[in-house]
């Protein structure tokens, strides 16, 4: 289990070994089964990450394989994080040690939850993701360097380096790089704008006569 602190401030780069969890449509019930949601803090969620899949594969799940212990980059396929909106899913991944995710595509609520926690989710096309997953399988000890600006991942093993381009939407990219991904303060600061918006919504006054 990682003791790396959660991110704070600008996030420009993530370096570390990678772990692949292959397959499309891996939903958040699989990332963390519902029974682990019976809690009032996120503190103990690392134990629940992929709990049922890991039990089923009896030590052979990538999150249990010795070569992937301490990995900080997760590489997945299509529609990762679909289903339930539970933020427990990225929380569990992060508490295991994951600090960035690369995949073919992400479910929207999951992507937003990750962004709010400073966990970058970057995408690449099918062939790139497969090539990256193959490279990691061939040398799990390789250290990857993921940059957000420009979005790339660099794979170094045996003195050779390969680099692939990644995609990160402009808005989320800017938020992560600038450190403005945890934006509560920014939302609260727009007090007069919030008041003005509320004033023009008739249902807030019970459709009172103008």
């Amino acid at each position: 289990m990682s003791t790396t602190p959660f991110p704070a401030g600008p996030i420009q780069r993530c370096e570390g070994r990678a772990v692949v969890v292959a397959g499309d449509d891996i939903d958040t019930d699989r990332i963390i089964p519902a029974r682990y949601l019976k809690c009032v803090t996120f503190d103990d969620l690392a134990a629940g990450v992929f709990a049922d899949d890991r039990r089923e594969r009896a030590g052979e799940h990538p999150f249990d394989r010795p070569e992937h212990q301490g990995a900080s980059l997760l590489v997945v396929n299509r529609n990762f994080g679909c289903g339930s909106s539970r933020e427990h899913a990225p929380q569990a991944l992060m508490r295991w040690g994951i600090r960035a995710v690369i995949g073919e595509s992400f479910a929207e609520i999951f992507f937003g939850n990750c962004l709010a926690l400073g966990l970058p989710c970057l995408t690449a096309d099918h062939d790139t993701v497969l090539a990256l997953q193959a490279a990691i399988a061939a040398d799990p000890s390789a250290v990857l360097q993921l940059d957000l600006e420009p979005a790339t991942v660099r794979f170094s093993a045996g003195g050779k380096a390969r680099q692939w381009p990644l995609t990160l939407a402009e808005g989320p990219g800017r938020m992560l790089v600038s450190g403005e991904w945890n934006g509560t303060a920014q939302l609260v600061a727009h007090d007069s704008e919030l008041r003005a918006t509320a004033a023009r919504l008739p249902y807030l006054s019970g459709f009172a006569a103008a």
């Binding site: 519902a34 039990r55 529609n79 289903g83 339930s84 539970r86 933020e87 929207e108 403005e180």
Partner: protein, 480 residues
């Protein structure tokens, strides 16, 4: 880019500011909270030294963790008790209304907000629950959020959001007898896929949609998220207004007319432009059942489990995984697959009209030997209404258990769960691996009437052969 749709109009009305990161700050008109995704948000609010900006626009209930047999406090499960106690404390401290157990208004959050008239057309609705899309049935823009966003809404009554594209799903024709909104949405997801809606809001429109009751529209929008669309909606119309009129939080008196005028003007007009459009024929849809491990792996009850050759190349690994997990072979007719547990309830299908449709099939029949079957009303109000018309007696006489309201076996955060390799016929929304509480448990999604057909037959069965006379019509729950 879409223009002139309800989505565009509601978005503009609620736009607070453009944020430096490129997102829009969107005002949230109604914030619904429950015990699972709010405790950490309140803790974060405390850490930031912030208070709840609009406690009067925040409404709480308890649903996921409540037992459906005895709801006496304290709960037998100390973790469940701690979660509810935490919610009660947070609501009391911040002045938030909590519709708690025994209040007469408790229930699944997506059932109670509509029935109390809290959900209204043209609102933005957020809740830390992906099935918040349900509220789109009223012509609201409603979406699920995570806990950090719950914190943001508590603190600012707003969210940083990116605008979605809009796909119109136009449904021609009329649903056949024995075919329900559940079948329609399972069919849409089957055709467009579980990822097809990512990046989109789904506008459901056309003659078949206009003919749906409000409760059917809720079932439809509820599962938009299963098709990848974070929100789905139906334009408000006379059916919507008839449902809302007289409900506790609905406008009354002169305000009602002003509300109807505002709501009506928000509907997508003939000039509306969509990013994409898909057309379906309602009459061609059969009762639909999922056979696999995503809600997109659905087939008509008269079809067979698809072969790899019948599956798109890029879906084949998932199809093979589903064969193994479900222990179903390609080419097997889905009708006749034996079931162990039959569950009627959930935010998808736990409303009065769902229970009526199920009871109409259960009346005079009995659950097959060896099958556990139970009905969980979506709310205390649904339970009371169903009991007032004797539906509980119909279910009990047919061998079903009649339970207390809650999320129950939809997600197994309470004592209701599958055991081992059990296979369920379920009126809920997700057939993911392990979803119903057993890591190897299996789920077949279908309409409530189809669940009864499975319960009385002992296996998946075509409800169209069991359908008898329709039940008493009610304007709130009957198709126009």
């Amino acid at each position: 880019m879409s223009a002139g749709t309800l989505y565009d109009k509601v978005w503009e009305q609620h736009r607070v500011a453009d944020l430096p990161g490129g997102a829009t700050q969107l005002f949230i008109g109604l914030h619904l909270i429950h015990e699972v995704t709010s405790p950490q948000a309140f803790a974060a609010l405390d850490d930031l030294g912030l208070s709840v900006r609009h406690p009067e626009r925040t409404v709480a209930t308890v649903d996921h963790i409540v037992p459906t047999t005895s709801q006496a406090r304290p709960f037998a499960d100390p973790l469940a008790e701690e979660m509810l106690a935490t919610l009660e404390g947070n609501c009391a401290r911040h002045g938030i209304t909590l519709h708690g157990l025994g209040s007469g208004r408790q229930g699944i959050v997506h059932v109670i907000a509509p029935e109390l008239g809290l959900t209204q057309p043209g609102m933005t609705v957020a809740c830390g629950d992906s099935h918040t899309s349900t509220h789109g049935a009223f012509g609201a823009i409603a979406f699920g959020i995570g806990t950090s966003q719950v914190r943001d809404v508590l603190a600012s009554q707003s969210l940083a959001m990116g605008k979605l594209k809009v796909r119109r799903i136009w449904v021609e024709g009329a649903l056949q007898t024995g075919v329900y909104a559940k079948d329609l949405v399972l069919h849409v997801i089957r055709r467009l896929g579980v990822k097809g809606g990512v990046g989109y809001a789904y506008e459901f429109a056309g003659p078949a949609i206009e003919a749906l009751s409000m409760e059917e529209r809720m079932t439809l929008c509820n599962m938009a998220i299963e098709g990848g669309a974070r929100c789905g909606y139906v334009n408000p119309d006379a059916v919507t207004f008839a449902y809302l009129k007289g409900r506790p939080h609905a406008p009354a008196g002169d305000a009602w007319e002003r509300a109807v005028a505002w709501w009506s003007a928000l509907a997508s007009g003939p000039e509306a432009v969509f990013d994409d459009e898909v057309v379906f024929d309602a009459a061609a849809i059969a009762p639909t059942v999922t056979w696999g491990i995503t809600p997109g792996q659905g087939i008509g009850v008269d079809e067979t489990v698809p072969t790899l050759e019948q599956t798109e190349a890029d879906e084949r690994p998932l199809t093979e995984e589903a064969y193994r997990y479900m222990d179903l072979r390609p080419g097997t007719p889905i009708e006749g697959v034996p079931v162990d547990v039959c569950f009627i309830g959930s935010c998808t299908n736990g409303r009065l009209s769902d229970l009526r449709a199920a009871a109409a099939v259960a009346r005079g029949r009995h659950v097959a030997a060896g099958i556990k079957a139970f009905v969980v009303p979506g709310s205390e109000q649904v339970a009371a209404a169903a009991e007032a018309e004797g539906l509980d007696a119909v279910f009990r006489a047919a061998g079903f258990e009649w339970r207390e309201p809650g999320c129950s076996m939809c997600l197994a955060m309470n004592p209701d769960r599958l055991e081992g390799r059990q296979i369920s016929a379920s009126s809920s929304n997700r057939n993911f691996k392990g979803r119903q509480g057993s890591a190897t448990g299996r789920t077949l999604l279908m309409s409530p009437a189809m669940v009864v057909a499975a319960a009385v037959s002992g296996h998946v069965a075509d409800v169209r052969r069991l359908i008898t006379a329709p039940t008493t019509p009610d304007p709130a729950t009957t198709r126009a």
